[in-house]
């Protein structure tokens, strides 16, 4: 590691907060000496400027560029109209990636949120709840790269009749079932990849839903039990509706994750055997220098997420009104 990079790092870690500190203190010193009216108009922008500036430069501007480039060819100099979009919607490979992303959207979300909800309700009733939550949450901080390597060994396949080295196929062997080529077989591969995703996400959903669950007043539940409701009815008619806001928050986060999935597919199959998703398609086009196409795919991905954008904004506005 050369010294200059290390010094830069140290300078950044110490310097940036100090610079901002100086910015705030110095700026306020100047602002306070301005006439009152001007103060209040000027000050907010002054404070928000670094944040807004950063977001603009590193998110908004590139976004705009991407939209423009999606209408250009690979050298990003010639305008080609809708050609890239047409390519995306007519080429069999990209259509497959759209279909797979849809599968991810539905099953990853349902799996993570559904399992999270069920588990939250179940572990709430046992004394070792904390341990259970820790065990299930453990995959969450693991990187997708590490998770993929972990599951590579779970999915390993050896020819029928040979010793199985993969955990899942060994388990199948115990019940005298032939080994399955999880990542290769078209009937299982997408499901396998999605399951890896769910494995990394359930803990997240569990923790959040569990926190909300605890907030439900026990009096309500007790009253219901006294009135003769059984556990299933309680879950269906009381708990779930009360948890609904939390479920939607978690659900939208999961949907966004599903659509943006890259690491797991890239590391485990790189899209082979029809497991491609939108994000890996985009990266592949990027790597093959099809910049116009890659930009178009990015825009399409963004458009699929826009409904969630609107949901997020609506929720923000509702929260604002409550304030």
């Amino acid at each position: 590691m050369d010294i200059s990079t290390l010094l830069t790092a140290v300078v950044a870690v110490v310097g940036v907060p100090l610079v901002l500190l100086g910015y705030i203190i110095g700026g306020e010193w100047v602002i306070e000496r301005l006439p009152e009216k001007i103060q209040n108009t000027f000050r907010p922008y002054f404070w928000a400027a670094p944040g807004i500036g950063f977001a603009s430069v590193f998110m908004l501007v590139p976004l705009a560029y991407s939209v423009v480039w999606s209408f250009q060819d690979d050298s990003l100099s010639k305008f080609v109209g809708w050609k890239n979009y047409i390519y995306f919607f007519t080429f069999p490979d990209t259509i497959t990636s759209l279909k797979n992303s849809l599968l991810w959207l539905i099953f990853y979300t349902l799996g993570a949120v559904g399992l999270g909800l069920i588990l939250a309700i179940l572990v709430d009733r046992v004394k070792y709840e904390a341990i259970a939550k820790t065990a299930i949450f453990l995959p969450v901080p693991i990187s997708a790269v590490a998770a993929s390597i972990i599951w590579k060994f779970m999915f390993e396949y050896q020819a029928a009749g040979s010793t199985q080295t993969g955990t899942l196929n060994a388990g199948l062997g115990l019940v005298h079932h032939d080994p399955v080529a999880w990542l290769v077989d078209a009937t299982t591969n997408n499901a396998s990849l999605i399951f890896v995703g769910v494995w990394t996400a359930v803990g997240f959903c569990l923790v959040i839903i569990s926190a909300s669950l605890k907030a439900i007043s026990s009096e309500v539940l007790e009253a219901a039990r006294i009135d003769g409701a059984n556990e299933f009815q309680i879950v269906r008619l009381i708990v779930t509706p009360l948890l609904w806001p939390t479920i939607t928050v978690v659900g939208t986060t999961m949907i966004i994750n599903a659509l943006k999935t890259f690491d797991i597919v890239y590391v485990l199959t790189n899209g082979a055997y029809d497991t491609d998703v939108i994000a890996t398609q985009m990266f592949r086009n990027l790597s093959n220098a099809h910049f116009g196409r890659a930009a178009a795919i990015g825009v399409i991905l963004f458009i699929t997420i826009i409904p969630l954008l609107i949901v997020n904004i609506r929720r923000f506005q509702q929260q604002e009104e409550q304030r």
């Binding site: 985009m282 990266f283 826009i306």
Partner: protein, 301 residues
């Protein structure tokens, strides 16, 4: 419901059975519950345990038999994988790079985000809501869209291939969520404290630095862990900006450890364990903050 049923219902909630017989009946009823939960826990833990065990085995063993066989003698445990991985040129450097990338990027974005969040929470200005909606909206933008334009931007400004580029890119990506979360938190702080400080003559900088920030420390602490781990685990951004750079982080290095043709998966076990070690240690040591960080943004409001 009869008096007896009500008593039983209450005792179920308190988990104190009434008599020895109903004790066993009660436990049997709960058996499926326990089985389901414990089975689930086991199934969730097995994959990670499998990797851990495999990381201590010889490649030839791994090719011939599954990890569970190593639990019985002969074990054949060895540190060879770890030694090999750490001896590969560039691996220790990439671990240091991961730290060099993660720490400054975290610091930069959190300081900027806190400042901006305070402004959005406690200052009224025209366009505030619109700006905020835009920022919230940016949370869902797929980062793939920004990769090429940023690549070109960095090339033009001479930052290409440097860690600074990655700090800035990560900061840009993380800001929207952090501003959103911190603004919610800051907005929830008691108005009276700020008002009385203002009456006492404290300017905004004092109110921010001596009131807002200290009160926000719990949220910032949790968020820091989150952000830190997110950058530590990142693959795509580093893959795009630092693939060939000597400063590539560990995640990228791992994907490059196999030969050009995908051979050599066995060597990756130790590498993966090493990469996972930091997040797992952080999680286990700082569970409370971790969890709080996740729930604070979602459960509120």
């Amino acid at each position: 419901m009869s008096q007896a049923d009500a008593t039983i219902a209450r005792s179920e909630e308190r988990a104190t059975p009434i008599s020895a017989l109903s004790n066993w009946g009660y436990r049997l009823q709960r058996l499926p519950l326990h089985i389901v939960i414990i089975a689930f826990m086991a199934f969730w833990l097995i994959p990670t345990v499998g990797l851990l065990v495999n990381s201590f085995r010889q490649p030839a063993d791994m090719a011939n038999a599954g990890w569970w066989t190593a639990l019985f003698p002969p074990h054949g445990f060895t540190l060879a994988s770890y030694q090999q991985v750490l001896a590969i040129d560039g691996v220790p450097a990439s671990i240091i790079s991961s730290i060099l990338i993660t720490v400054p990027a975290t610091v930069i974005q959190l300081t900027i985000a806190t400042m901006a969040a305070y402004a959005f929470a406690w200052m009224k200005f025209p366009g505030r809501d619109i700006f905020f909606i835009v920022i919230v909206g940016l949370m869902v933008v797929p980062i793939q869209m920004t990769l090429i334009p940023l690549l070109k931007l960095f090339a033009v400004t001479g930052l290409a291939g440097t860690v600074v580029a990655v700090w800035l890119a990560h900061s840009g990506y993380g800001l929207p969520f952090e501003v959103f979360l911190l603004r919610n938190y800051l907005g929830g702080l008691p108005r009276e404290i700020f008002e009385s400080a203002e009456v006492d003559g404290a300017g905004h900088s004092v109110r921010f630095l001596r009131l807002a920030v200290p009160m926000t420390i719990p949220a910032i602490a949790s968020l820091t862990i989150f952000v830190f781990l997110g950058i530590w685990n990142d693959l795509l951004v580093a893959l795009t900006f630092l693939s060939g750079s000597p400063y590539k982080p560990f995640t990228v290095k791992i994907t490059q450890l196999t030969t050009s043709l995908g051979y050599g998966w066995e060597f990756l076990t130790a590498a993966a364990v090493l990469q996972m070690a930091l997040p797992l240690i952080v999680f286990i040591a700082l569970q409370r903050y971790f969890v709080r960080g996740i729930t604070s943004g979602s459960v509120k409001g």
